[in-house]
Point group: C2
Chain length 462, copies 2
Amino acid sequence: MTPCPAEALTHPRAEAPADLVITGCAVLVHDDQERIRFEENAAVVVRGGVVESVTTADAVRHRPAVERIDAAGQVALPGLVNCHTHAPMVTLRGLAEDLPTEAWFNDVVWPVESNLTARDVELGARLACAEMIRGGVTCFADHYFTMDAVAAVVEECGMRAHLGEAFFSSQGPEGRERSLDFALRNRGRAGGRITTALAPHAPYTVDDADLAATAGLARAHHLPVHLHAAENRGQTDASLARHGVTPIGVLERTGLLDTDLLVAHGTGILDRDLPLLERAAGRIAVATAPRGYLKFGWPGTTPVRALRALGIPVGLATDGAASNNSLDVWESMALTALVQKSAEGDPRWLTARQALHHATLQSARAVGLGDTVGSLAPGRRADIVLVDLTGPHTQPVHDLAATLVHSARSSDVRTTVVEGRVLMRDRELLTLNVGAVAGELRERMPALIDRGHGRRIQEYDT
Amino acid sequence: MTPCPAEALTHPRAEAPADLVITGCAVLVHDDQERIRFEENAAVVVRGGVVESVTTADAVRHRPAVERIDAAGQVALPGLVNCHTHAPMVTLRGLAEDLPTEAWFNDVVWPVESNLTARDVELGARLACAEMIRGGVTCFADHYFTMDAVAAVVEECGMRAHLGEAFFSSQGPEGRERSLDFALRNRGRAGGRITTALAPHAPYTVDDADLAATAGLARAHHLPVHLHAAENRGQTDASLARHGVTPIGVLERTGLLDTDLLVAHGTGILDRDLPLLERAAGRIAVATAPRGYLKFGWPGTTPVRALRALGIPVGLATDGAASNNSLDVWESMALTALVQKSAEGDPRWLTARQALHHATLQSARAVGLGDTVGSLAPGRRADIVLVDLTGPHTQPVHDLAATLVHSARSSDVRTTVVEGRVLMRDRELLTLNVGAVAGELRERMPALIDRGHGRRIQEYDT
């Protein structure tokens, strides 16, 4: 009897050659209650881009494989997901420092972005992907402009991404139409590694009519929506003063809570917003990027505990490097744990294992890939990172979860794999050339950062 | 005429061979107002353990040198100083996670520390020094037990350190005497790389009589004092309730503010303490280790802005790895900037350049080495780290200070030099063997972490 494909996937014959065997490491797995456990002296077998099995090192000793990685002293975990970023903004890293939100937007970022060319976006995306692959990020949710250039880079470099072409109402209906066009043309691209979303910028830059039209398009085309909302308390207060409702209230009355919605930041979410989020017909998720909230001196942070109580996944994110200064999701994981403990005044909350749950299953769900990635289990896409724990800063190990969250760093990631393809091996990038990209960017910088023209792409006025 | 030694140091003859020339890099220097500037395409010349000059790459092209480092793409800066740690506690990294302060002390750390042997302390110190050297730390202020073992490791591995033997009043007068004995025997050891302090644990574990006696010993023997005080608001409230004065008030009435005093943490310092600190006859400094404050969910952080207004230096620190999970002073630098912005609600405060001032001159002053290290200038001891900025996460560079503080990581330190001796080159440690240390520690762990005996070295009760 010829086995059906699903059976072949999970119960291969012993002799079938694997594409990749990673062996001798600890492997982070989730039990059926989603609790995190570490299998010691284990192995991951990859075939056809998916995880065929997580088993013992002994069991794979004689398994034929195209590629073997001996990962003794390392931990295999699902690749990190950057749930909200503007990858090409790495070009502006360090350009707008020590500024309040309004000056950051109006005096630097939005004037500079009026100079942006497709080539700048492409080079920025390359540099960003290089940084993320080196930091163990296998997938990112990007929200920016000229996104065809980003999609091309994703296709080329081997990462996974969830992409949306951002728009403002100030662009007229063309902005929204371009966002839809991008989403329809690019979904499923790169062998399915690219998924897409509609990407209105935020309720303070996109009006209610445009948001309602976006919700309609999302339903009609079965597309999710990715936007900024209630980024900070100031925006919430301004929304209440102008519209009589919070930004989450705007999402509700425009129908966006009936769509699959990824909300960036949400540090201005109020208690009164929680029932709206609980009643939402769509799958709602929130991305938290706590470094920027500290840096801007915002008074709060994403209410992770309240969202968790509603079953709303909170994914980890970095935002763009123009505010966050890096795309280091590992740091976001640690900072989320630390900032949540501090905000709640409760050191027992957001334990290392909870942080790893956010970094894995919750982040995968936040970008609509909850059934595809986010855990190392048979049938999941083989997005895997190997983290070296032999350095002095990660020894001794009393509790692997604590070591990963609070002692390990993104620079401890030695190997990054997406769909079974090795994108970085022993810290060497295999699909991107950083020197060439950084060199060309340096030459383009004077034209990109020129603000002499006095233009800006948008005005920040919550 | 034979030049006197000082002239020889700063104006050597052109032909005198240098011990070490580092060239082609940017060099962080301070101007005469202590503002930070970067010399581009520069060089540092080291002779006799001190910086002979900071000059141009051109000027050293033909300079004979025992050792040359081509540091193109890198930045040379003064080695970081960890202004408050318990280095050997790396052995307990990850053992006491997600706990409030009291449970952390009483249920885990103080029971385990009753098992501590000199060998555990020695191995812990070795692992800690390895971690610090790899993270660009050239000097640390340590406050722990069995400190002769730590001093021996410092001597052997080449670091600089400011060491104190900790004591509680529960040990009787012997604790204080041992602390004095350690300080007198070890000051100036390792060719002057070791300085010492008296090290009462804290006002909540050392009584007023003992603190007053310590102040007397400090004056009599010209020794500084290093202790914990006003670690958190709870301690301040308890001190007010019990003694009618704050912990800083206790330091004042016991005469410790008349000594050269390094206060760890101080997140419980109140406005009413500021006049006491301002009037202090001794040189007062504070060490801030913000990661732990977030992790314990403490309500505040070190009042850096208020202390700065009084001219009190605030040095960067990690505390021990049992609470902080690493000895990563680079992370402390970034977190200090972020947490201070957040605490003050002011994104324009604690700029990247201010953070670098804390990391350099203020940290050197905090450990009593303000005239010796903390800047790269002729006559200063040659404690230098080289940071590689060619990685994708540190490109492009719009503002070197921002790149260093907010984008670079401790893992970007390629080379660490103390008194002109290279302790790490291209990430390879030259004076410590991590594998051997970690291996022996693993074997000793069961005995070290056993809590079956029910003992503890002290009780936490503010």
